[in-house]
């Protein structure tokens, strides 16, 4: 039996403004988020991911379409009656309340008895290691600590779904990494469905069970980080997540032909005709002997990155491609500018894009 969906949106559409000034923020987005999963909405700013989050939280009503929680239609349920809590990008901690009162706010509004509030607040605070700060005001805390309070505040009422709106974007790199693993740990321990919004593809890849990639109000692809990275459906997804080489190709019956006469195997169900193929730089192999390789290229530039080097080359046929060259594994330094080299693509690494 399939796991029940925690959140489902059905052809949700959100239009701001009216007439000629109407802006479509969300264009018929249907998505099913499973119970207990860490789901990430990934996309550049203005892609509609925050709008989708606000629809799920209930801060906005969709222009059309439906929002379901555990199979129940909650489209018209106000935010205060949805068992869904949000960690805001700006944290939105109540400045006039202490940390303890902030964390207890949700339970207090729900009308829970003081004893229960006390226990749950203590538990939430110890979960984010802030027990000692309970009597401080938010302004007396560092950015990272405020972040944790915001998290504890959203978790204390035990929501069914936790929404996180780019919660880590204001933190510095080191703290961000720490919070990433902490969030992952909490999600694992609590088993609550997390819906995480970010524009950071690395964050999405490392934390999520599944990712939904969005652009211009549309949902382009849903899949596990591995699927999204290895099998992007179109150029936008391939380009947005990781680095990719794009090469024009003719695709027929499981074979892609580039530069006129170089054929390579692709998935048999790939779209037919004139398309773009995508190859990740780490799947481009460089051979010192051009004669032994299916393709030839001339190195135009090499950039050293420590663990590896990025070798920029002009492939025969005139397309520029980048290879990630691992000196240790290859047993030598990256080829220098002007060298003629052989190039091959790792088997199964060539992906035909739908444009």
């Amino acid at each position: 039996m399939p796991k029940e969906n925690a959140i489902e949106t059905r052809s949700s559409r959100k239009v701001y403004g009216a007439g000629s000034e109407a802006v479509v923020a969300l264009d018929d987005v249907s998505i099913a988020i499973r119970k207990g999963e860490f789901f990430t909405l990934l996309g550049p700013s203005g892609c509609g991911k925050t709008t989708l989050l606000r629809l799920i939280a209930g801060f906005e009503t969709p222009t059309s379409g439906h929002i379901l929680l555990n199979g129940q239609d909650i489209t018209d349920v106000p935010p205060n009656r949805r068992p869904v809590n949000t960690v805001f990008q700006s944290y939105a901690l109540f400045p006039h309340l202490s940390v303890r009162e902030n964390v207890g706010f949700g339970l207090q509004m729900k009308g829970r008895p003081a004893s229960e509030i006390g226990t749950k607040v203590e538990r939430a605070l110890s979960m984010v290691q802030l027990g000692a700060m309970a009597d401080r005001k938010p302004a007396q805390l560092s950015g990272g600590q405020q972040q944790r309070v915001a998290l504890a505040r959203a978790l204390a009422p035990s929501p069914e779904v936790l929404l996180l709106d780019e919660p880590l974007s204001a933190l510095d790199l080191k703290l961000r990494k720490e919070m990433q693993s902490e969030l992952k740990r909490l999600q694992h321990e609590l088993g609550i469905t997390f819906i995480f919004v970010t524009h950071d593809q690395e964050e999405a890849l490392t934390m999520s069970d599944r990712i939904g990639v969005m652009s211009s109000g549309r949902l382009l692809q849903i899949g596990s980080p591995r699927e999204i990275y290895n099998h992007p459906v179109n150029r936008f997804v391939a380009d947005f997540i990781g680095e990719t080489n794009f090469i024009p190709a003719d695709v027929h019956d499981g074979t892609a032909t580039i530069a006129g006469d170089i054929a390579m195997q692709v998935a048999p169900d790939s779209p037919q005709g004139r398309h773009t193929i995508a190859v990740r730089p780490e799947h481009v192999r460089i051979l010192n002997d051009p004669a032994a390789a299916p393709m030839r290229a001339t190195v135009t530039d090499t950039t050293y990155f420590g663990t590896d080097s990025h070798v920029r080359m002009l492939l025969q046929g005139g397309t520029e491609i980048v290879a990630r060259y691992q000196s240790e594994a290859a047993g030598g330094d990256a080829p220098t500018t002007g060298t003629d080299v052989g190039v091959s693509f790792a088997p199964g690494s060539v992906q035909v894009l739908q444009d």
Partner: protein, 267 residues
């Protein structure tokens, strides 16, 4: 020579002008305060230091009566004006923008722009007809009139506070199961309190020293402190008035200092 940014302090004569302006502003007030401690009863000839005018003012039955009336009117009017202003500020900042906002601001701030004497005459005529119709002669007219012209003074700091408030906080409250009323009661209102207190003080001070409208609206025997003082000074200049003025000044300074402390941006 390095290019420097514009600074008013380098304009020739700037210090002189600045000092002259401050002297013109504060010299008369300083004189008033000094002469309230004059031992003689002249307001022009210094005859030595004394506190005597303060007990004289305090023991004057009439002064006590008008002071009490002034405080009553100011308290009632500032509370009413602040309540109305708070609702107006919420109405103008916590709703969908539909245009015409500037017009609404102008309407609310009308008492700041319409000449006071016009308002005074209008109220005189308006209240006269009510007096005839109802026969009521009480303090209500003064309180109503003061409430009306105090509204913008209370409204401005409250609106500023509401506009500066992070709306996400109210959204966060609703996310955390607060009903709209609870969100207002537990988040908006406490955060608005400094603005409301500031508005209240400003309205109180404004009501306390009003002369023009009070003169037109008051019934017989309803002198407030300022109108009483005006009447006293017309008759004979008394050093007693200096003492009362000094006390009024002190009260105003205290309230305005509190106002600035409350509206000062924190952090």
């Amino acid at each position: 020579m390095a290019r420097r940014e514009f600074s008013a302090s380098r304009i020739p004569g700037f210090p002189t002008v600045a000092i002259l302006v401050f002297v013109a502003l504060y010299m008369p007030i300083l004189m008033l305060v000094i002469y309230s401690f004059n031992a003689g009863d002249s307001i022009a000839i210094w005859e030595g230091f004394s506190f005597k005018w303060y007990p004289v003012a305090w023991n004057n039955e009439q002064v006590r009566e008008v002071t009490f009336r002034s405080l009553t009117v100011a308290t009632m009017a500032s509370v009413i004006a602040t309540t109305v202003a708070t609702m107006a500020a919420l109405g103008t900042t916590r709703r969908r923008r539909t245009g015409g906002q500037t017009f609404i601001y102008l309407m609310i701030n009308q008492p700041l722009m319409v000449p006071e004497i016009v308002t005074a005459v209008a109220l005189l005529i308006f209240f006269a007809s009510i007096k005839v119709a109802t026969g009521y002669q009480g303090l209500g007219y003064l309180i109503a009139a003061h409430s009306a012209f105090c509204i913008p003074f209370a409204y401005l700091p409250i609106r500023a506070r509401l506009e500066g408030m992070d709306r996400t906080l109210e959204v966060a409250a609703s996310d955390l199961y607060a009903t709209p009323w609870q969100a207002f009661r537990h988040v908006t209102l406490p955060l608005l309190m400094p603005g409301i207190a500031a508005g209240l003080m400003l309205a109180f001070v404004t009501s306390l020293d009003d002369v023009v409208i009070t003169l037109f609206v008051k019934s017989a025997g309803q002198d407030t402190l300022p109108t009483y003082m005006l009447a006293q000074i017309r008759r004979s200049v008394s050093a007693e008035v200096n003492a009362i003025s000094t006390l009024l000044l002190l009260l105003t300074v205290i309230l305005l200092t509190a106002f600035f402390l409350l509206t000062r941006k924190r952090d």
